[in-house]
């Protein structure tokens, strides 16, 4: 397996994304992968707490602000074999608003780390910083919980990421203008979905649409449905995949689901990684299954 960058976003805060990232990282390390977890929740970093380690003295902020020159200098060990951490930048004022050059420098250096998987925990929201980390990833995970607010934000995240990808690929200003208009949900051109957008681009510049279709075809978010409580909640993941395909034209997949379990918050209260504290609990077994499936390139497909 070549070196890969994975990211996990979600649009909404408080859905257990950092806990998922920590557990997935730990499970991947148990599967023999050399993993670096990156807390890219600049301004709200707490991945170290999910792993049960004290806040490291060196953070991503030190690298961004050039207090250290090499990104390896901010990688710290965890108590777990093969799992290391780049902590976030909550101690750095202004680091939440890194500029384009700083972002490119971070991404380039992450690609050069001598590991199997770099797993980036993205912050909440749909800012360009978050979206750009999501877009450069080999595996782009989207965490949601089976609640209306989370699903709504999940779709918003998908549209924001896709439109930014299409805009980056737009061959001329006229097409970029159409995409910018689409970002306004109340646009006057009636563009509500990526499929509407492609139709509008085709009217504006028929030659450009093939390129954008290719970009759309290569955009492949993978859902994780967290905190499920019932078979109906589990089925939400399948429904999201179908809805994305039919109504957005997006080829999403279902990486897996994780049950709600009090064992998780008990572990957090003790500042312990839940998967390590209670490895036979449903959430631990389910994150193990997700990690294994992602490594092997499998998804949960409906069986007809």
């Amino acid at each position: 397996m070549r070196r890969q960058i994975w990211s996990i976003g979600g649009g909404k805060g408080g859905i257990g994304k950092s806990l998922l990232a920590a557990s997935l990282g730990w499970q991947l390390a148990r599967l023999g992968k050399r993993v670096v977890l990156v807390d890219a929740d600049l301004g709200g970093a707490n991945l170290h707490t999910c792993l049960g380690v004290p806040g490291p003295s060196r953070t991503l902020g030190d690298f961004i602000l050039r207090r250290v020159e090499r990104i390896e200098d901010v990688v710290v060990d965890t108590p777990f074999p093969r799992l290391r951490l780049i902590s976030g930048a909550s101690d750095v004022l202004g680091a939440a608003n890194i500029n384009y050059q700083q972002k490119v420098r971070v991404l380039n250096k992450l690609r050069c780390l001598d590991v199997d998987i770099v797993l980036i925990d993205l912050g909440a929201g749909t800012s360009h910083n978050i979206i750009d980390f999501f877009l450069i990833s080999d595996v782009s995970l989207l965490a949601v919980v089976p609640e209306p607010t989370s699903i709504e934000n999940g779709y918003r995240f998908i549209k924001s990421a896709l439109y930014r990808r299409l805009r980056n690929a737009a061959p001329n200003p006229a097409v970029r203008e159409v995409i910018d208009a689409a970002l306004d949900q109340k646009n006057t051109q009636g563009i509500r979905t990526p499929l509407d957008l492609l139709a509008a681009v085709e009217r504006e510049d028929p030659a450009a649409v093939a390129r954008l279709r290719r970009e759309l075809g290569e955009f492949h978010p993978r859902f994780i449905v967290n905190q499920v409580r019932s078979p109906a909640d589990i089925a939400v993941g399948h429904q999201l995949v179908t809805a994305c395909a039919r109504h957005l034209g997006v080829r999403a997949s279902y990486a897996g689901y994780v049950h709600y379990d009090d064992a998780v918050w008990r572990a957090v209260r003790q500042r312990r990684l839940f998967a390590e504290k209670d490895p036979d609990s449903a959430p631990a077994l389910e994150t193990r299954q997700i990690a294994r499936s992602l490594v092997e390139g499998e998804t949960l497909a409906l069986t007809w």
């Binding site: 939400v236 179908t242 109504h247 897996g256 449903a282 294994r292 497909a301 409906l302 069986t303 007809w304």
Partner: protein, 189 residues
């Protein structure tokens, strides 16, 4: 939005060789997607769009669930000739890789909870397995719960687990061997 020229098969997301059971399962998935308060579509579609989508699903199901109407539809699509019998239930199973998800191999050892998680992830009920496999639902529950005290002898258990695996889309042989070996060794311990 889905194309207005989409076939009934496309609306339900199945191939033209889908069995009646597959039509039923695909319909339940699609119908759930367009319920008024469905999480996956409430923020994506407005009321009118959802209603239109729901009507397309119902129209597709109305035709594909009825062997005679489905046959007429297949003839109109040019999938079969007028003369061929509408014996859909007797149609040969689709070749591997067409119309079914690929068979999955679970990591060894396969446990009852592993089977339950996999089944739930595929949205398949125990009743559906019981209907398709003729294995009693009680035994299916015992298998998932690993009730070693009431599970049948290994020779029967192997067959039951194979049937379970076949219905949910797991590798029947590997699943049964792994599961039964674990149960037998636990009984001997």
């Amino acid at each position: 939005m889905s194309a207005p020229t989409e076939t009934h098969y496309g609306v339900l997301g199945i191939g033209p060789r889908a069995t009646p059971e597959q039509v039923e399962r695909a319909y339940r998935h699609a119908a759930g997607l367009y319920e008024a308060d469905a999480l996956a579509t409430y923020s994506l579609l407005d009321t009118e769009e959802r209603e239109q989508a729901r009507e397309r699903v119902e129209a597709a199901y109305g035709v594909l669930r009825d062997p005679a109407r489905r046959h007429q539809y297949d003839v109109a699509l040019g999938l079969v000739s007028e003369a061929s019998p509408p014996a859909l239930a007797a149609a040969p199973p689709p070749p591997p890789g067409t119309g079914r998800a690929p068979v999955v191999v679970l990591p060894d050892p396969v446990t009852g909870p592993d089977l339950k998680r996999f089944r739930e992830s595929r949205g398949i009920s125990l009743r559906e397995i019981a209907t398709a496999s003729k294995v009693g639902i009680r035994y299916l529950e015992y298998i998932e719960a690993e009730r070693k005290d009431v599970l049948p002898a290994p020779v029967y258990l192997r067959g039951f687990v194979q049937e379970y695996a076949r219905v949910v889309g797991l590798d029947p042989r590997q699943t049964a061997e792994s599961y039964v070996a674990r149960v037998v060794s636990a009984r001997q311990a």
